[in-house]
Every structure is written in C-alpha cells, then in structure tokens.
C-alpha cells in the first residue's frame, strides 16, 4: 500500500485501475474530463485501451460492448452526459452487463454550472432509464472513499452482473486529501462467474445458483452468446409472453435485493444515545459531521448516519438506527430528494428536510440555521 | 438439448444435378420459380406444415445446375448438388 495526496477524480481512476479496468470509453465533460485524461496516459501502461468517442451515446454502448468482449469497462460523465446515456444504461441492465459509470454530479438543470457541485441527480442515478430495475449506486464523500467505493463498484458489477453507478460530485472531484492506495493482492478483486457447462448446455440468462446471477460467457469463447435488448427468456430468445417478462424483470430486480447485504455500506457517528439523527451522503456528509460534532460539544445528543450506498436502501436497518431518535434530519444539496425515502422508511418519527442548494457544499452555518429551529 | 421437429424435404435429380427443396421452410415467395432459366420448378398443389405451397422440380431433366434458385431463396429452402457417380 502507499500513502498518496490526490484529488477525488484521480482516486476514482486509480481505484478503477486497481480493480482491473481494461477499457474506458468516454467523452469530455466538466468535471470528469480529467478522469479520462489521467486514464489516457495510465490505462495503456496497464494493458488496457482507452478511446474518446464522438458522444456519450457511443461511450456507454462501447463500454457495454467491451464488457461483452471480456474487459472490465467503465465510462465517466456528469448530468448532461448521463441524460444521454440512460438508454444505454437500460441496455446494460436488461443484458446484465457488468459496467461501471462514474457519475460526477454538477449543478443543473441543463448546462447549469459545469464546475460546481449538486446532489440533485440521485433520482436520475437510480431511475434514469425506463422500465423496472434496481442498480447499485455508491456515493463517496472523501478521496479515500472515492478510491475504495470505485473498487467496490467494479466488484459489485462483476459479482451481480449489473451496471453500477459511482455517484460523486464536482466538489469531491477536485478536492485534495491524503489517502491510501492498495497494491494488487492487498484488496479483494471479484471476477464475473464463468460457465461450468459446455456451450450446448449453456443458457446466458439462467442463474446456476440461488443468487439469481447467471454465469457470463463472453464473445470469442465458443459459447455463441446472445446479447439481447428485447425481453428474453433464459436462452436469450425474444418471447412476447407475460410470464417471460415477469420472470425476467423479477429476477433482474431480485438479484440485487437478495444480495443487499453485500452492497449496502454506511458509517455511523455518535449514534448510540442520539436524540437527533442526521442522515446525509456525499459532500454534504462532510458539513453534516461538523454540525453533529458542534452539537455534541454544546451538549446536544446528535448522531449521524452517512450513507455510502444510496440505492438500494436497507429500510429495516435505517429504521432500526433511527429507533431512538426524536427527530431525523436529512441534509442534502438539492431541493429535497433523499428525504422522501427517509420519510417513507422512518414513518413514526419526525423527518425534517435540510435541503440547501450550494455550489460547493452546504455550509455548517446554514445547516445549523435550519436545524436550530427544531432542537 | 432441444429436440426439433423434422422437416419435409423433397428431391429430384437428373444425371448431373439434384435439386432439394426443404418444403417446410418455404414461404411461397415464388422467387425460385421465377428466376430459374429453364423453368424447372413449378408451384405444387401440396401444402407444407405452415400452409404454404412449395415448389417441386417437375422438369428436373432441364436443370443445368446454375443454382439461381438456391442463391435467390430467402428461406434456406432450396439447394442444388452435383450428382457424383
């Protein structure tokens, strides 16, 4: 392992390299262009290929194609680019393709402020594409977490055969902190399951175990796989039948939910005797932690849950962690989105939105001005 | 793995060439009958399992083995082979 001093975007790039990235398809967009620039130099040294494509539509489709040729692949973008990628995301979902999308949120809507942060895109990250599905979304709040959660994103994508989103923001992208990077062998790297049967018996969308994840043969291995964007049965054949649609959609959703314990990550601070619980994620969690410490110094029993996985959420766990609280505050840098989930989950406590729009990150002072009215 | 139903195949040959029609794949487009320069093929009155009337090499003695029927069939339903003695 080695100690480094770097910024969030480089941590994402290095995390990808540690996880075994071999293909990057991208398009320049502030604030992620430097991920692509860094990997343009580094990825060939690791035996991979990087290409800047003509637009985000090509980037996401090429990343999925490369995954089907056997490479761990990723792309990185921001709000306007992700809006273009959502159809491709749907392709990755229905074909159950492991691919990582680094989504570094920037102020919107539309062109917004390219160099500054927001947290308004959590719903788009979760539900951007059409149809029923659940994909894991990880949200780092520091440079170290950007590195670690990128590795986790790749592992989750390979383990569950799904696209995974790493949801960062413009503040963390260019924030410099010290962190620890790992050498190969120091951290677990998961590879996709390969078929244990010969080609005649292999069906690309049939799980071989209870985890709901089919083993994945790729192009060029003699399995003659079918990558199919239409609704398909376990062989990959398009069938217009209610039971086929139901089986396919339910399996794709349930394979994520069944494995939620391997996906859901969070940290807690001062939670044991907390009467006021703060929930936050990403860069907002940094200010929120400062507020919680200030409150503790003033003798107020405040505690915090920092969500590192913001989708899917473990409802029963969040409910349990809030079970001793009088009030729950949800701090986020948008007009109020995560708070809807928390209000749904923690039904018997007062859940107060602390929704502060800030181009950098909500300041502790502003958070306090909202919270103090409720203490 | 998957057991597939057998297909009806009809054949006729002269001394040099044998024409085979995979009757159950024919969709009655009529192209093979139209392109044959020697009018070897004729639409039969017999139906395949999907309800299409497939062609028969009724005038097989005229066949010169040009394979235009084979090349112009969209359905993998007709082919010509040389008869080897």
């Amino acid at each position: 392992m080695k100690r480094v001093y770097t910024h969030g975007n480089e941590a994402i790039a290095e995390g990808a390299l540690t996880a075994g990235l071999r293909f990057y398809a991208g398009y320049p967009i502030t604030p992620t262009s430097d991920i692509m620039e860094y990997l343009a130099r580094k990825l060939p040294e690791h035996g991979g290929v990087l290409m800047q494509f003509e637009d985000e539509l090509a980037s996401i489709n090429a990343a999925i194609g490369a995954s089907w040729a056997g490479a761990k692949s990723m792309t990185a973008t921001s709000g306007p680019g992700f809006s273009l990628m959502v159809e491709g995301l749907g392709l990755g979902i229905i074909t159950e393709t492991p691919v990582v999308i680094a989504y570094v949120m920037r102020a919107g809507p539309s062109t917004g402020v390219p160099t500054k942060a927001t947290q308004a895109d959590i719903m788009q990250a979760r539900f951007g594409s059409h149809g029923d599905y659940i994909i894991p979304v990880y949200a780092p709040s520091s440079v170290q977490e950007a590195y670690d959660l990128t590795i986790k994103a790749f592992n989750t994508a390979e383990m569950l055969r799904t696209p995974v989103i790493l949801l960062s923001d413009a503040t963390i992208a260019h924030l410099w902190e010290s962190a620890v990077f790992r050498e190969p062998g120091e951290v677990e790297i998961i590879e996709r399951k390969k078929p244990k049967v010969p080609p005649e018996e292999y069906w690309p969308y049939k799980p071989d175990e209870d985890d709901g994840v089919p083993p994945m043969a790729v192009f060029g291995e003699g399995y003659h796989v079918i990558v199919e964007s239409l609704t398909h049965d376990e062989r990959g054949y398009y069938i217009q039948d209610t039971m086929v649609q139901r089986r396919m959609v339910e399996r794709i959703v349930n394979k994520i939910l069944k494995n939620i314990d391997k996906i859901f990550e969070y940290d807690t601070y001062y939670l044991d005797d907390a009467r006021y619980v703060f929930i936050s994620f990403g860069s907002s969690a940094r200010s929120t932690l400062a507020v919680v410490r200030d409150l503790r110094n003033e003798g107020i029993k405040a505690g915090m849950i920092k969500l590192k996985t913001i989708w899917p959420l473990k409802d029963d766990l969040i409910r349990k962690l809030c079970s001793n609280a009088d009030k729950v505050f949800v701090v986020e840098n948008n007009m109020g989105k995560l708070v809807w989930d928390i209000q749904r989950i923690v039904r018997d406590r007062e859940v107060i939105p602390v929704s502060i729009i800030d181009l950098d990150l909500p300041s502790p002072k502003e958070i306090r001005s909202v919270v103090d009215k409720w203490l | 793995m998957q057991v597939l139903e057998e297909l009806l195949v009809i054949r006729a040959s002269n001394e040099k060439f044998r024409v085979s029609v995979v009757a159950d794949r024919c969709k009655e487009c009529g192209l093979c009958i139209a392109v044959c320069p020697k009018k070897v093929l004729v639409r039969s009155n017999k139906y395949n399992k999907y309800g299409f009337r497939y062609p028969e090499p009724a005038r097989i003695e005229e066949c010169i083995g040009c394979r235009l029927c084979e090349y112009n069939c969209p359905d993998f339903a007709i082919y010509v082979e040389e008869v080897r003695k």
Binding site: G65, G88, L91 | P74
Partner: protein, 285 residues
C-alpha cells in the same frame, strides 16, 4: 414427369448452411421474398469460405445489430451476437473490437439504423478506419415499424409519415463515406447474389473499415407503398433499376431510381486499420 422423392430430415442436416443457423428459430420472421434472407444466406456462404480457408475462426465472429428488420439477423445465426439499441450497433461493435481485436465483428443494420439515427457513429467509425465490416441493408423504408419514410426513400413517394409525398432527397451513403480514408466501400444487391457474395468474401479478408450497402427488396412494406407487393414483381422492378459496373466512380453513386442505382466496388484501399494504429503507437506497454 420427374420422380420426386420425399423424406423427413432433422434440422441441422436439411440444408448445407444449417450449421451456421440457430435452428430453433428457423423459419425466420422475415416476409416472403424479403431481401434479408438472401443477404443472410449470401453472407453465410462467404463466411463459410473464409472459415474453410482459415482466415476466420468459427468461434471468433460476432454479429452486432441495432433495431429493425435487418437487426433481427442476430436471432438466426449460430455465432456470438448482440441485438442492441437503435443506431448504436457501430458503437457497441467498436467496444467489442477494441477489447478483443481477435474477433471479427460484423455490424448489420438497415438504412435508418445505420445512416439515420446511427449516422454519427457511422461517420466516426469510418473516420477512424475502425476494423469493422458494416453491412447496410437499403430497402428504402422503415419496415419494422410499418412503413415510415427513411433516409433513402425516393423523393415524391407515399409513406405513412409523408402521405403527401416525400419532400426529401435520399442519402447517398457511398458518397458520404468517400470523405474518409476507408478501406472498402461497395454496393451490392440481393437481386445479384453472386456478386454480393464476392463483395462479402473480399471484405471479410480485409482489415480497416469495410462498408457494403445491400440494395434489397421489401415486398410487404416498401413494395406495398409503390404498388408492387408481390415478391417476384418487386424483384423484377428492382432488377431493372440497378446497373452493375465493376469499379464505378463516386459521381455515379447517386441513389436514383430513374437514372439507375449503380452497383459495384467504389472504394478499395489498404490503409492500416485502427487496431494496427493502437498496436504501433497507442501507448507504452
């Protein structure tokens, strides 16, 4: 009268190219007389020849398609295949090729899929001389969705979205691609399958960007719009409107039903493909 024998044969042994077909899905969903069946048969012949020569490997061929009638080809072939999004097949195929250059990637799509919604990806793949074989099936209409106007529909024609007559001129993809340094651009047709097979065969032995436009018949949709719904009638009409010339010039490549659509090999070059560029100077190893 001829002696006609009949027998029952297992699929797989019924037809010489059955080993390349995904037999449970045959017969295809394509209409009677559809040019796609002829195109697929011709392509499989060319692939078979190249496999027998050792130029292509049986398990290292991938068909990548978008959406549309042409795109359904992946259903029917016993090769690795991807049925992806409308217009994005070339982007997907580029990702496959870059991640595993040993695979021969064949992209198939209609004129709407490749040159309409997929136009941007077509242009850039050509600009890069990306090592792909792109086969564009030109049937002058958006057939799968019921007969809307396409980038290649002749002017003045009735379609379901141009009921008062098409106001647009058709796109000449051959001329568009002549703006780039690509290795192979040819136009064939399903009414001349032997010539088309030669083009497929040649392209499968080359590297770099290879593009073959296949002018083909769509009796049920396009044929119906022009009053020629019978497969044989449409075939005969198309055969009158295409002219074969071995090496025509780009000036002759207009998609003009009145002057005649000229088939032939328009561009043949031997530039290094993109994969070769990466190997030479793509980065330190």
């Amino acid at each position: 009268m001829a002696v006609i024998t009949s027998e029952k044969i297992r699929p797989g042994e019924a037809y010489p190219l059955d080993k390349y077909l995904r037999l449970p899905r045959i017969p295809t969903l394509w209409c009677a007389g559809c040019g796609l069946g002829v195109m697929l048969q011709t392509l499989l012949r060319a692939i078979d020849r190249r496999i027998k020569e050792g130029v292509l490997h049986r398990d290292k061929i991938a068909f990548v398609t978008g959406i549309g009638c042409t795109a359904r080809t992946t259903f029917y072939v016993e090769f690795d295949g991807a049925h992806t999004l409308h217009g994005r097949a070339i982007a997907f195929a580029t990702g496959v090729k870059l991640a595993n250059p040993e695979i021969e990637v064949i992209v198939l799509g209609g004129d709407g899929d490749i040159a309409g919604i997929g136009g941007n990806h077509l242009i850039h793949a050509a600009r890069r001389n990306m090592d792909l074989l792109v086969i564009m099936n030109t049937n002058f209409i958006y057939a799968m969705t019921g007969g809307q106007v396409a980038p290649t529909t002749p002017p003045g024609l009735y379609t379901t979205t141009t009921p008062y007559g098409n106001l647009e001129k058709p796109m000449n993809v051959i001329r568009l691609l002549s703006a780039f340094d690509v290795n192979y651009v040819a136009r064939g047709s399903t009414v001349y399958p032997q010539i088309l097979e030669q083009y497929f065969y040649k392209a499968l032995g080359m590297k770099g960007f290879r593009f073959i436009e296949v002018v083909s018949t769509c009796p049920e949709v396009f044929g119906r719009h022009i009053g020629l719904r019978d497969p044989v009638e449409l075939y005969n009409e198309l055969k009158k409107r295409v002219k074969y010339k071995p090496r025509p010039s780009i000036e002759e490549s207009e998609l003009d039903w009145n002057k005649g659509i000229v088939l032939g090999e328009y561009i043949i070059n031997n530039y290094p493909g993109y994969i070769e560029y990466i190997r030479e100077r793509g980065g330190r190893k």
